[in-house]
Amino acid sequence: MLKRCVAAEWAKLRHSYIWLLVVTLPVISILIGCANYYMNRGILKNEWYSLWSQVGLFYGEFFFPILIAICCAYVWRLEHFQKNWNLIMTAPVSVAAIFLSKWVVVGILLLLVQGIFGGLYVLGGIWLGFNSMPPGELLGWLLRGWIAALAISTLQLALSMRIRSFAVPVGLGLCATFLGLGMYVLDLGQFFPHSLLSIGMGVLSQTSLSTWSQELGFLLVSLLYITIISTAAIRCMRKSDVIT
């Protein structure tokens, strides 16, 4: 059933402008990051790692969280328009499958975004003429970033489901990013989804997850966020009236 819902959800993304954003935002992050690196070569001497600190900062602390919020707002906007809530809620599928199918589709989009970003980072490094191989940590950064993104998207999906406006949840997401930065600085990053992204992608400190226990903790907290928020959102869908 979930598979059918995901297929239906995926079909709704045809001819959609979301694809343009999925490609554009990583490109912009890489361009700004590379330019910043290029102009500050005097102090940034650690090739790949220095480049990551630059591109990662723009991407992980700004463009990626916004992209997550936009993707989540977009998949719900489709239903907020034209009384489509009536359509999905009278389909013979479980309410949980409706919510989770959106989460899966956003997850696939974000994995794609991470892939594009990773690829562009390597291309950027080659273009800047680095002599060494790309860092071995890259895959881990991207993957952990994706896991944190899944936690954030659960939160954003719940917000966009309840708030019929497109801009408000995206704005809230942006605020949460800054709040996450604050939590990270206060060393409480493990307890906030948006700080999990900073930690997971190693954008502020490339060695923030150095031990296995930290790694496990990161995974567990992400999973906890996903479970709690999605359970609450699905419960809310079951209990409340459909408003169109």
């Binding site: 328009f81 034209q82 359509l87 599928v93």
Partner: protein, 303 residues
Amino acid sequence: MSQVVASTSLSKRYGTVYCVKDVNLSVCEGEIYGFLGPNGAGKSTTLKMILGLVQPTDGQVTVFGKELAAHRRLILSQIGSLIESPSYYGHLSGLENMRVVQKLRNVPDRNVSEALKIVRLTQQKDKKVAQYSLGMKQRLGIAMALLAFPKLLILDEPTNGLDPAGIGEIRELIKSLPQRYGMTVLLSSHLLAEIEQIATTVGIIHEGRLKFQGRMDVLKNNNRPTISIRTRNNILAEKVLMSEGFSSCHRGDSLVFENLTDELVAQANRSLITANIDVLRIEEHKKSLESIFLDMTGKERSL
């Protein structure tokens, strides 16, 4: 005939106001049930409760003999619906919209082409729905509701936004559904004429309460003409006619009789003249379905 939809004291309260109150709806298999009421009478809310879109404050709904709350998915798989204005994804073509519903309902490809053919959208299926006219969107909505060829079809104001030719066409389509596909149809409208032409059974709702429910022909029987006779002495006239077996009631300054044949009218007139009572008027009054409807829903509100 088995009951397809049954609700018992179904109520919905918003704040302190009951939008739907103690509605006992009963829709039987193979019927075309017309749910009639003025705007804001509670039609859509009732239909939404039958589909589980709105949670009732009180009462319960059973569909196909099963309780909705407990068998939601099973029940929904056998219902096609179009509630309020049609749902659609504007950036997708008509066909792509149908594909989305097809995936959700897990039905074969031929259903898609068949449903599009029924509503005559096959030619425009590749056009973006945002560019459809209102009538075409409405047709697409009906096609989506028909897609799984469900046992029960729930249509809320199905002819909204259609031109007269389109209304006629959709009316004929709906009328043919019970025989062609064995469907039961529950449709709502604020237009008496529309329900009169389509429905076999009618439910009239006003201010959230069900005022009448029954077969259309029963409602039409309430329609029989009355004869009113005005004389110079109505009291004496009544006595005279009563002794001859006529029964009447007073309304204004006339005596009103029901079920009088032409022969009986002539006989009554003869008796009155013989008794030396001057007859001033003999009039026939026909109560239209519309006035019956207005009696139930109140004249002060628009239909």
